[in-house]
Structure formats: C-alpha cells, structure tokens
C-alpha cells in the first residue's frame, strides 16, 4: 500500500511542473494585461518555430541557419494571397502558406544536403539569405515588389475569419491550441522509430549507415517535416502580427532562433519553448529600456551562452527537479 502510494506520489511530483505550466497558460488572460498575453502568443508561435528547428538540429544534428526562411515564406504566401489576390478564406490561405514552406524545404533540402557539417550550415545560410533578398527587393522587379512590399514589408492582415471574430485573447487560445497540437505531433515523431533513427544519425552516421539505414532520406524527411512545422508557425505569426517584413526571414532571425534553441536546451522540445520564452521576454524588456543596444545584448547573450552555458535551461532544471524530488 505504502509502495503504491509512494509511486503515485512520485508520478504526481514528476508531472507537477507540467500541470503548473498548463494551468498557467490556460488562465493567463484572466490575470494579466494584453501586452503580456500578446508577448506569450508570440512566444508560443516562435516556440513552435524553434521546436521545428530542434527536429533538424537537436534531434538529427543538422545545424541550419536558414530555418527562418520557411517561417517567412509561409507568412508571406498567406499575406500575399490575402492582400494581392484577395483570397481571404482561412482554409485556402493558411494551408497554401504551409504548403509553400514545405515545398521550399523540399528544394532547399536537396541542395543543402549535398554539403556536410559546417558546409551544410553555410549553404543553408546562403539559401536563407536568398529568400531574404527575394522579399527585400527594393527597386527592380516591379511585380514582385508590388506583391511583397519589398523592404517595407507587407501589413494589414486581419485575424482569420472562421465564422466568428477573433480578439487578441481568443487568438491567444487559438494559437495555444494550434501550437499544442503541433508540439504533440512533434513529440510523437521524436518518439517514433523514425525519431529514434534520426537521433541515431545524430550520434553516429557511420554506425547507422552500417546498420543499413538510408541516411540521406532520413535527413531529407526530417528537414521537410521541420520546414512544414516552421510553415505552420509562419502562418500563425502572420495572422497574429498582421505584418511581415524581410527582417523575419533573413539570417538575423535564423541565428536568433538557434540561440533560443541552445539556451533552452537542444534535443528536448520543451527546451525550445523555454529558450524562446527567455529570449523574447528579454527582448521585450530591453525594448522598453534601451532598444538601440538590443543587438549588443543579444550578441553578448549568444557568446555567453555558448561559452559558459551550453547545456541549456531545460536539461539543467529537469535535473534539479529530479534531485529535489528525491
């Protein structure tokens, strides 16, 4: 009886942080103002983007600096459909954005996976910047400029029309549900046989090849899946933000999300969200005090985290919690 009781208590303790987080997220709009709700919505959306990146970097060991490109392309596709082609239906514009991101990942995957290690990273950086250049057209290419708004970005995207009108609070819940479903799917992928072979490739490519796995195909599929979820995040972002500019596509964002991932702890999904939360909250508060120094603080955080704190917040706090329970 007491052993059973102890096991029950243990399990309860183990999931206490999860329950607290879920309750916190569900009740958040009741006790904070809209600025914080909007910040947390942003954290959730970018959290999904960073989780998608975690799938390629944390789980498969492919470091990509071009991952913001898929996020941006999805957001831009949806925005262009709405603003330029006046296709306002959520059920066309949103899936089209995700589809474009997935297709782009399929094309970039073929190119980037020809290179290995550092070169893979450098090629994704160049490809990501190519996408940035396409959206950043300033003078030439009149039609493209009319579609994308060039360096000014593309704004004025309303909340999606799902038969009722969204408020910032209800969009928060919409994003929460969407991100939760995607996070669950990503979790299931990492726990599937495919997910384990991804981790096997991360640990030792040679060994996995000897075991008869098709390394290239595994990497390629992981890359595409990550592109798809980055696309979902991009669509959620454009409806939330109502505005997208080339800034959210280039390797500024690509580097920032890598930092978020490492700060939170790569290869853990939870860490991706935590790192995103810390960085975006930091950005929010720096923005209220000294916005001009944000690049300095961000760069400093990057150097500091990599030099001294590479394990990440999530693995550290998980170990601490484990020790405390004993």
């Amino acid at each position: 009886m007491s052993a059973l009781n102890k096991e029950y208590k243990n399990r309860l303790l183990r999931f206490t942080p999860h329950i607290i987080i879920i309750l916190f997220l569900l009740t958040l709009p009741t006790f904070t103002d809209l600025a914080i709700v909007s910040l947390v919505t942003r954290i959730l959306i970018f959290g999904l983007l960073v989780m998608a990146l975690d799938l390629v970097f944390g789980y498969t060991g492919l470091m990509s600096l071009g991952h913001a490109a898929f996020f941006g392309v999805a957001g831009y596709t949806t925005a262009i459909l709405i603003k330029y082609y006046h296709i306002t239906s959520f059920w066309i514009a949103a899936p089209a954005g995700v589809l474009m991101a997935t297709l782009l990942a399929a094309v970039f995957g073929i190119l980037a996976l020809r290179a290995k290690d550092v070169y893979f990273f450098l090629v994704t950086m160049a490809l990501g910047q190519l996408v940035f250049e396409i959206f950043n057209t300033s003078t030439s290419a009149g039609k493209l400029r009319a579609m994308t708004g060039g360096s000014d970005g593309l704004g004025g995207i309303p909340y999606p029309d799902l038969g009722f009108s969204f408020s910032p609070t209800s969009y928060y819940y919409f994003a929460l549900i969407a991100v939760a479903i995607c996070a669950l799917l990503l979790y299931l992928i990492t726990k599937s046989p495919f997910g384990y072979s991804m981790q096997g490739i991360r640990e030792s490519e040679t060994r996995m090849r000897c075991l008869g796995y098709n390394i290239w195909l595994h990497k390629y599929i992981a890359f595409i899946i990550a592109g798809l979820f980055a696309g979902v995040a991009g669509v959620l972002f454009i409806y939330f933000n109502g505005f997208i500019s080339p800034e959210s596509v280039g390797f500024n964002t690509g580097g920032l999300i890598l930092l978020m991932l490492i700060l939170g702890g790569k290869g853990t999904l939870w860490g991706a969200v935590i790192g995103t939360g810390v960085m975006l909250a930091l950005q929010y508060f720096v923005g209220t005090i000294t916005p001009q120094r944000w690049p300095l603080i961000m760069g400093g955080t990057m150097v500091g985290v990599i030099m001294f704190f590479r394990g990440g917040i999530f693995p550290l706090s998980r170990n601490l919690w484990k020790r405390m329970r004993r």
Partner: protein, 286 residues
C-alpha cells in the same frame, strides 16, 4: 567590345576585393577549422578605423596600415579570448562568431554613429585612364594590383616556405603536426592576424567600390565571402582567388545582361557549384 572589357575589368576589381575578404576566411577555415562568421565585421572595423585615420591625417598608406593592424589585433583578441576554446566544435564556433557580428556592429554604431563612412581615394589614385575607347578609374587598377600582390605573397607563403608547409600539414592533420613537435599555436595566431589584417587593409583600399560602408555591412559581406569560399574551395589561396573572380565577373556581367536578377546571380553560381562539385572548384577535401 569596349563594353565587355570595361565589365570584365569591373568584375575583376570587385573580385579582387572579394579575394581580400575571402582569403582570410578560407585560411582560418582550412587551417583551424574555424568558421569565423565575424570576419565580415572585422573587415568593417578595419575600414572604419582606417578611414577615420585617413580623414585625420590625409595619408592613405598610414590609413591602410592602421586599418590592417586594428583588424588584425581584433582578430587575434577574438581568437585568443574565445575561439581557441572552441576548436573542433562546429556549432559553438559558428554561434559565438555569429554573436560577435551583432556585438561589433552595435559597438561601431555606438562609437561612430549611424552614418556610413565614405571612401578615401588618395590623389595619386584619382582620375581615369582610357581603356579601349572607354575610361576606367585608376583606383580600380590599384585595387587589382594591390590584391594581386597580396595574392602572390600569400601563395608564396603557403606553397614555398617552411611555415606554409606547416600550415598545409596542419590543415590535413593538426594532431600529427603537433605530435612531430611543432607548436601550432603561433601559427594559428599568425594566420588569424594575417587573415584579419588583409581584410582590414582590403576594406580601406577597396571601399570605393561599394561607395561607402556602414556598421551593419559586416553581415552581407560575410555572406558574399562565404559563397566565394564555398565556390572556390576551402583552404587554398588559389581557391579563394578563383571563387572571388567568378563571383566578381558573374556580378558585373549579371548587372549588364540580366539586370532583373542581378541580386540573385551569386546564389545561382553557388547552386550550380553545389550540384556539380560540393567541395568547391579547387577544394582540398570535404
């Protein structure tokens, strides 16, 4: 005909400037396996310091020397302070050096303000000379000439000297070189200093080709340099030169013949190389 010659000269001068940026990147990447994403920012620092000196003293030579020295010192400080703890840790190097792009860019903004630095051309490089019926600025010939000299010095250093032999051996197997009793640390510091100093000098000499340079230009230039290194192949001076000339010529002819896609020609060249020969044209091993 004269149009082709002028475009070729434009492409070559731009390519030679790119060589000055890319050679250091390639050297450090090949020798130490360090992907220094802050290289573009170091280039800009050299330019800012050099151009400030030029404005104060009016001496071009002094400006180039001080620019090179400041960039080289910054390179060594970064290597000794940070990068040397990160050998053989790809993702860590990449992110630390990436972080320094933001730090250096923001510090430049803080110190020098948001205005771009305009180029300084000494009187003896001003003016143009007739080439096949058209006029071509002397300054660009000077860029080509200086870069060509630096190329030959680097090539001689890497291929014909004992130090160069150690560098090349270090690229192939650093552990073995150390095992033979050769201390690689001064070589590494020297390579970092040399690569950064060439970039810094290159910025002072060649900034005229961009018109002016801003504190955030380090990122865009880095990207071009990275593409040059990927195309040419990592770790050889010749590779950097070939890659730089290809990008320079592709850029200048692209501007004339395909003006709509001129910003993307560089990426097209990259995509072709990745598909055909991922290790680069003169790459060592991948």
């Amino acid at each position: 005909m004269d149009k082709i010659v002028i475009n070729a000269l434009n492409g070559i001068s731009y390519g030679m400037l790119l060589f000055l940026i890319a050679s250091g990147l390639s050297l450090v990447m090949g020798l130490m396996g360090i992907v220094n994403l802050a290289h573009g920012a170091i280039f800009v620092v050299g330019g800012f310091v050099g151009l400030t000196i030029a404005k104060l003293t009016g001496s071009f030579l002094l400006a180039v020397l001080v620019g090179a020295l400041s960039a080289g010192l910054l390179g060594v400080i970064l290597e000794r302070g940070f990068f040397r703890f990160l050998y053989k840790q790809d993702f860590a190097q990449v992110l630390v050096t990436f972080g320094f792009i933001f730090i250096i860019g923001n510090l430049l903004l803080w110190i020098w303000g948001p205005w771009p630095r305009s180029a300084f051309v000494p009187s003896y490089f001003a003016g143009s000379v007739p080439v096949m019926g058209a006029y071509f600025p002397i300054h660009r010939f000077a860029v080509i000439g200086i870069a060509a000299m630096i190329f030959f010095v680097l090539w001689w250093l890497q291929e014909k000297t004992r130090t160069g032999a150690i560098i090349r051996a270090g690229m192939d197997d650093a552990e073995m070189v150390s095992g033979l009793g050769i201390n690689l640390t001064p070589i590494n510091i020297g390579a970092f200093f040399l690569g950064s100093a060439i970039a810094g000098a290159g910025c002072v000499i060649g900034v005229q080709l961009f018109g002016s340079i801003s504190h955030f230009d380090g990122m865009g230039l880095l990207l071009t340099a990275v593409i040059v290194v990927i195309i040419g192949g990592v770790g050889s001076v010749q590779g950097a030169l070939v890659g730089a000339l290809i990008i320079g010529l592709v850029d200048s002819f692209g501007k004339v013949y395909f003006p709509e896609i001129t910003r993307f020609t560089m990426y097209l060249a990259l995509a072709v190389i990745i598909i055909v020969k991922p290790s680069g044209i003169l790459g060592r091993k991948l």
